[in-house]
């Protein structure tokens, strides 16, 4: 451990704002990159299932 205490770790030697804002932003972008294709997949599957149902109803 490179810090003496947890509050020391949070303070980042006075650079807390810079370090933590970077990593918070990083977390948001990474999660977005995972969640976006998940939602897309859900939407795609439900759309196609609806289309199949429509076609079945017609025939």
């Amino acid at each position: 451990m490179s810090f003496d205490s947890f509050s020391d770790f949070l303070a980042m030697g006075g650079h807390a704002f810079y370090v933590w804002s970077c990593f918070a932003l990083g977390l948001v972008v990474m999660l977005g990159n995972v969640i976006a294709p998940m939602l897309e997949r859900k939407k795609l599957i439900s759309e196609q299932l609806r289309r199949i149902r429509r076609e079945e109803a017609k025939s």
Binding site: G13, G14, Q48
Partner: protein, 247 residues
């Protein structure tokens, strides 16, 4: 051409193989990124000049690497699509763009936030920063061009050519710190030399770089699978797959 090259051309085969590869890559990405970040943030020693603000390197360097690696992947996939008319390659190229753009934004943003306490300025029009900004604009241009053209194959061809032309920017980014006098520090990892920092600083960085490659593989495969499903939605195998989903 080897057999796997032909198999890659089959969207169905790609869908199945990515389904098998996804869990492993996801677990690897999660462990490497979480582990590397904790190591870098809490256990690596502070920099003797920059103090703790240097820890931004653990996000900045991997994202900057990825923004460039993803661009190269996109250009190569685009070229394969152009030469061999391989549809899966076109899809890979298309899926690369938004991931690369988001990581380029992250690299630029973390660079700006790191620049403030280190150089005293959020932004300077320096060779490395400017060429990185051009990379982001290339991504935007490729995404805009792709969505502007209705025909999938024409869109793929045009974006592949744009991506290949833009490839010239990659060595410019890479060597900008050597060719011009810049504020930006030189590369952390060089093939021919040992890193200038001690191992307890660069090992977590290397772990994170590998973790980000796995992360890219995960997000690319997720997007590619969606793209395959969308384009192959009228085929019988996708229909069967959907029926299984319905249960």
């Amino acid at each position: 051409m080897p057999r796997w090259f032909y198999q890659l051309a089959s969207p169905r085969w790609c869908y199945q193989i990515t389904g098998k590869l996804l869990p492993g890559f996801s677990i690897a990405a999660l462990f490497l990124i979480v582990g590397g970040t904790i190591w870098g943030l809490a256990f690596a020693p502070p920099d003797y000049q920059q103090g703790n603000s240097f820890r931004i390197i653990y996000l900045h360097v991997p994202t900057a690497y990825m923004a460039q690696s993803i661009y190269i992947t996109m250009a190569i996939a685009g070229a394969i699509g152009l030469i061999w008319k391989m549809k899966v390659a076109d899809m890979v190229a298309k899926c690369c763009a938004p991931i690369g753009a988001s990581l380029a934004i992250l690299a630029l943003a973390t660079g700006a936030i790191w620049g403030k306490p280190t150089w005293g300025s959020w932004w300077v029009w320096d060779a490395r920063l400017t060429s990185m900004l051009i990379l982001l604009f290339l991504y935007f241009g490729i995404m805009a061009l792709n969505s502007a053209i209705e025909s999938e194959s024409t869109a793929a061809q045009s974006t592949a050519i744009l991506a290949l032309v833009g490839l010239v920017n990659i060595p410019i980014i890479q060597y900008s710190v050597d060719w011009w006098n810049t504020l930006h520090q030189p590369s952390t990892f060089k093939i021919t030399e040992k890193p200038a920092m001690p191992p307890e600083m660069w090992i977590p960085l290397l772990i994170l770089v590998i973790g980000f490659y796995c992360f890219f593989a995960v997000t690319l495969m997720m997007r590619l699978r969606n793209e395959i499903l969308r384009r192959e939605r009228r085929t019988s195998w996708v229909r069967e797959l959907l029926m299984q989903q319905r249960g």
